[in-house]
């Protein structure tokens, strides 16, 4: 129990920007210590090297989850468009607030901004926020980012291009401090409260994109373009990794979610394939050799449940898990 709590607080700390450190000796479970030790035996090391060589030779590529995820993002955003243009009233509104078959839904971060700005609690928003919070809590929290957010999809495509450019030396990935996002979260909350304006919504690319889909092109899209250009040439996943307060909001929700990515030390070859594709590689720190404090572990709050690590992992050390449902997906 104590270990679970410690793991939880650690995952929050990492979400807020702390660097994942090497765990203290006392943090490890006995089974984990034994397994790490076993993996260090010369025979095991040889076997692992052999396995990695085999695996690299056949080049493991899978997009098992990605096709579902892209479909999900496109479908969710398409529903808004179709609802308006064909007047079928599935989901009216935009991602900031909507009615799903007449039932209120409100984006958690947008609701927070307007609540702070006008300093009043609106009943409809409470209904909308609770619905959305419970919904996303069930399926994972930050998978709002990777399974619904239209900016995420655009950024993902730009990221593919970015990685190619980096390979050619035409772009670079300048690392920033992840704590920036936490600071900005506080700054934007404070700005809303002090100025009485929803300052963040002015630069929120998610709102801008979502409205543009339904209500038509706007000049505000230029700002989204600028962000994508920064991501293309200078900072990999600039907005999602280092800036977006929406991500933090949903990460908090997801920190206790029953739907998680599950890690199994037994199967891990510690190659780091998962970390190289991950939007938030700090949550996969336990996949570094010697870092897992337990034989099986759940990935922390900041994880977007995108499933790219699952696709990258050649040995199935990572999987989707819904706690309480027993069986693995």
């Amino acid at each position: 129990m104590k270990r679970a709590l410690k793991h939880y607080l650690h995952s929050l700390k990492i979400m807020l920007g702390a660097k994942p450190d090497k765990p203290a000796k006392s943090d490890y479970s006995e089974a984990a210590i034994a397994l790490h030790k076993f993996k260090q035996t010369p025979a095991e090391r040889k076997i692992r090297r052999e396995k990695i060589r085999e695996e690299l030779a056949e080049k493991h590529v899978s997009y098992k989850w990605r096709k579902w995820r892209w479909t999900s993002i496109i479908l969710i955003n398409l529903m808004f468009v179709v609802s308006y243009h064909f007047d079928v009233q599935l989901v009216e509104g935009a991602l900031t607030a909507s009615r799903f078959f007449g039932f209120h839904m409100a984006d958690l971060n947008s609701s927070l901004q307007i609540t702070l700005a006008q300093k009043t609690i609106v009943t409809n928003l409470v209904i909308g926020v609770v619905t959305v919070a419970v919904g996303w809590w069930l399926v994972g929290g930050r998978n709002y980012c990777s399974w619904a957010c239209p900016y995420h999809l655009a950024a993902e495509w730009v990221e593919m291009l970015h990685l190619k450019l980096v390979e050619k030396g035409w772009a670079q990935d300048i690392p920033l401090h992840r704590g920036t996002r936490t600071v900005l979260y506080v700054v934007f909350a404070a700005l809303a409260f002090i100025t009485g304006f929803t300052v963040f919504e002015f630069i929120n690319p998610v709102g801008i994109l979502s409205r543009a889909f339904t209500y038509g092109l706007s000049l505000a899209l230029v700002w989204v373009g600028i962000l994508l250009l920064i991501e293309l040439f200078f900072v990999r996943r600039f907005w999602c990794r280092y800036i977006c307060p929406i991500g933090i909001t949903y990460a908090f929700i997801g920190s206790t979610s029953p739907t998680v990515i599950h890690y199994d030390l037994n199967n891990c070859l510690h190659e780091g394939e998962c970390r190289s594709v991950c939007l938030v590689p700090h949550v996969l720190d336990m996949t570094i050799k010697g870092r897992a404090t337990d034989v099986t572990m759940d990935i922390g709050a900041d994880c977007t449940r995108c499933g790219m690590c699952l696709e990258a992992c050649p040995t199935g050390a990572l999987s989707f898990k819904v706690k309480g449902l027993g069986g693995l997906l």
């Binding site: 009615r99 006008q118 700054v187 304006f197 300052v199 339904t214």
Partner: protein, 256 residues
């Protein structure tokens, strides 16, 4: 033949870990303040009040409207005459908030009840309003009295806004439920009274004689400032270009 001089490669100084960390921190600070800086630019149009917008029925006053609106556009979706549009980035913090351009398409309360208010999830369009008579968007003002046809004693024949005009209006006598295009509804009036005739609010505007002479046909449109809701229907229908009657945005009724 001279040997080409060996090109001296510029020695790239390797940064120590501490220096790297400091650089990352500095760049993060730069990026963070950059983003906040850009976000604050949104204050400029708001402060200068460059674009005073006519808001949909029930809109809270001024800055409180910008604060409370969640920028979802549900009001735009339900409007039967498509009067409501969302502001773009030039409106600063008003980005994504709804407005009405009355001259292009006014709110004529075709929806009977105020649908936009019912659609609003945040009460930014105040839920306290349930009748069109309670709405206060502004007040109609005769801004160019000299150009007014009624004041010249002139009639009006033809399409109020020409054949290319795209606006719609609900003519109850033609179709109780559906608004029709303005350019499908020609008029033939002895004395132009379009602003009075199409006003959706009872007694908000009337034609008054300009003097005691019973033979003088001229009349002046007179806004009853205790009744007018500022919907802008008169501004849209006025056949003179530019319109003689316009909404003073945000003006309040004398009595409520």
């Amino acid at each position: 033949m001279t040997e080409p001089k060996p090109v001296k490669k510029p020695v790239k100084k390797r940064l120590s870990r501490k220096e790297k960390e400091r650089r990352t921190l500095l760049l993060s600070l730069l990026a963070g303040s950059g983003v906040v800086g850009v976000s604050l630019v949104g204050y400029i149009p708001v402060k200068n009040d460059e674009k005073k917008r006519l808001r949909p029925p029930g809109a809270l006053d001024g800055d409180l409207f910008l604060a409370s609106c969640i920028k979802c556009g549900q009001c735009e979706q339900v409007c039967p005459v498509n009067a409501i549009h969302l502001s773009d980035i030039m409106d600063g913090f008003g980005l994504g908030t709804p407005f009405i351009d009355a001259r292009k398409q006014a709110c004529d309360f075709s929806c009977d009840a105020t649908q936009c208010i019912l659609a609003c999830p945040t009460g930014s369009l105040s839920h306290e309003i349930d009748k069109k008579e309670q709405v206060q968007m502004g007040l109609a003002r005769l801004t160019r009295p000299d150009a007014c046809l009624a004041r010249k004693g002139k009639g009006f024949t033809g399409l109020a806004r020409g054949a290319d005009f795209t606006g719609t209006h609900r003519y109850v006598e033609i179709d109780r439920w559906n608004p029709i295009a303005l350019n499908a509804h020609p008029y033939d009036l002895e004395l132009c009274d379009l602003c009075v005739r199409e006003c959706p609010i009872k007694n908000a505007i009337s034609l008054q004689p300009m003097n005691d002479d019973p033979n003088d046909k001229r009349r002046t449109p007179t806004v009853n400032e205790d009744v007018c809701v500022g919907c802008g229907m008169c501004e849209m229908i006025c056949p003179v270009e530019p319109p003689c009657i316009e909404i003073e945005i945000g003006a309040k009724r004398k009595t409520v």
